[in-house]
């Protein structure tokens, strides 16, 4: 879902490609086979450990969107664009993504799902906020992100988060209050706490890609480790913590709602991975040509991938269900065993990689180019 262009950082490309793989796998398996981590305790059972990485896809996307924005800002400034122009482009891109998110909810899911507040709307809102945050000192942005993570549980307690979730899905009424609360706290990707990821990515990118590389790399890695350690500490001491800190959810590590431990753990892990990949890959593209040949097209077309993989596996499911049973959603989550959906996911990924390779080579318009054409 990146909107940023050059300078391409191999670390970001690879990490975003990893997120795409995780996203495709989790969505194929969930939607086609109904197999996902819906249990009630941290790390219960072997399958949970196996499934755990799929929870990193959204944090990776969100965090990398902040980083990519920072790099994009650098390019625009180098081109001599005025601050006003940069702001206009940022706002237009943010609104484009928000609009696309609404359209996606309606077209892929159902009209009543329009205010689900999915990842696209989160990143769109994130861009609008980053247009302000880019004027702030980086440590203030980081502080804002941490504050957002830590006040979110209190907000969830205040709004009775569990009342909005039925059987693991966000269920809201078409009232202004529910729509606003969904955007703020209780949706799939509400800005509390998910806005913390783009903000953290923006702040870390300043450390990582500006100035002295080696010294700052250590700081970023240390921040990542600190995030993971805090997450583990919170998880371990979960029962002893007051509700205002843990919020509604009942477990130490949950993605819906995004618990404090989850936020800190995923943010820390992603940050650490960025630091490691930056050390390994950036500036050495030639050494990792094979990997980047595969990862770069996926990364470059992450937004298209997000839209396409849903269309590819959800729309056939609806059609198949309607044809086979007369009920559109009849086959949802029961269409096939997990192994089969995994195979389909893998096939899709391989095909998509080749497809976007061709798109790049032949300069075929994509969602990303449409966004640039509309917004820049």
């Amino acid at each position: 879902m990146s909107h940023a262009a050059a300078p391409r950082q191999a670390s970001i490309d690879v990490l975003r490609a990893v997120a795409i793989v995780l996203m495709v796998v989790v969505h194929f398996v969930e939607n086609l086979s109904g197999w996902y981590d819906g249990g009630s305790g941290p790390f219960e059972g072997v399958h949970r450990v196996w499934w755990l990485p799929t929870g990193f896809a959204a944090p990776i996307f969100a965090l990398l969107s902040g980083m990519s924005y920072r790099l994009w800002l650098g390019v625009q400034t180098q081109r001599g664009l005025s601050d006003e122009t940069i702001s206009k482009r940022t706002v237009r891109r943010g609104l484009f993504l928000i609009g696309l998110g609404f359209a996606f909810n309606v077209l892929v899911w159902l009209p009543e799902d329009i205010f689900n507040w999915d990842i696209l709307t989160l990143i769109g809102v994130g861009l609008l906020v980053l247009d302000v945050a880019r004027r702030m000192p980086d440590w203030v942005v980081g502080m804002a992100a941490v504050l957002i993570i830590f006040v979110s549980p209190a907000m969830r307690v205040a709004v009775d988060y569990t009342a909005y979730w039925q059987a693991g899905y966000f269920d809201y009424d078409f009232t202004l209050t529910d729509v606003l609360l969904g955007w703020l706290v209780v949706g799939y990707f509400p800005i509390f706490p998910w806005l913390a990821f783009p903000l953290l990515g923006h702040a870390f990118a300043a450390w990582l890609f500006d100035g002295n590389r080696s010294g700052r790399l250590r700081h970023i890695a240390a921040s990542g480790v600190a995030g993971i350690a805090t997450a583990l500490a919170i998880t371990a001491t979960w029962d002893a913590l007051p509700a205002v800190l843990t919020g509604e959810g009942g477990r130490g590590w949950t993605m819906f709602p995004a618990s404090t431990a989850y936020c800190l753990g995923t943010a820390g892990t992603v940050t650490l991975m960025v630091a490691i990949l930056h050390q390994l890959l950036d500036g050495r593209r030639d050494d990792w040509g094979w990997l980047l040949d595969w990862a770069t097209p996926l990364s470059r077309h992450a937004l298209s991938m997000y839209l396409l993989h849903h269309v590819v596996h959800v729309w056939p499911l609806w059609v198949w269900g309607a044809v086979a049973t007369g009920e559109t959603t009849a086959l949802w989550q029961v269409a096939m065993p997990p192994a089969a959906s995994l195979v389909l996911a893998a096939g899709f990924l391989i095909g998509a990689a080749f497809f976007f390779h061709c798109v790049d080579r032949r300069r075929i318009p994509s969602t990303e180019s449409l966004m640039r054409w509309l917004c820049d």
């Binding site: 004027r135 709004v159 529910d178 509390f192 500006d210």
Partner: protein, 265 residues
Amino acid sequence: MIVTDHDEPRDAGRIPAGLPADASLRRVPLACNEELLMLIVPLPDGNDGESAPNPVRITETVTAWAAEVDPRDFTSLPVITVPLYGCHVVWKPGQAAVVGPVSRLELLTTALSDFASCEGELRQLEQRCVDLVATVEEDAPHAFEFEGRAVSRRGTLASRFREAVAVRGRLAVLAPAAHAPPVHPPTLASQLGERLRDRTRLAERHEFAVDRAELAERLYEACGQRISEFGIAQRQMALEWAIVVLLVIQTALLVVDLLSRGAAT
């Protein structure tokens, strides 16, 4: 100049043919951490050079010795010749020749060493000035307005300021020697020093170097001020933004609280 594989560096350490037998070579360490190769050709005392054995040929020989250029030495400067009454001095950076009565040689070599030290130091400072001025255009915008993206250059700008001040300081130390007024009544040593200073345009070069160093010093001093102002502004701005962030989050909490109450009723 085309250099072929067959060219051999000239052996400047050899006394040229045709000079009196008591001619000698001396390597004189200079205060500027360079070395001066000095060819000393004594003439018999008690004459003005006119009756010395082939004085014209001797001066021509030593001038040719100094003027001979190492084919691999592209930095050689023109040779300066200073005829004096009864003496003759040839100089270029790193190399010199003195022809004169035995009783005058010590005076001449001392004066020559003093001058060579001064000139050598000025030459080194000139090069440092050239290096400094080369960065001026690049850094000039920071003297007017320091932007956040230039923060990473703060160390570089500070080191260049230190370099400019150091060069300026060395030039100030060198100034009395470079601008020394003519001595009256003159001595042989003062005459040699003055004439060498005149011919190498030492005073003018020193002034130019001072101008350059001052330019760099002014620029980097202004950069320092801009950086300082920027730092202060950043700290103030950070505090303001922190307050804004806290207020926004507090407002968000308030809004969420209000909305949740509305939803409950």
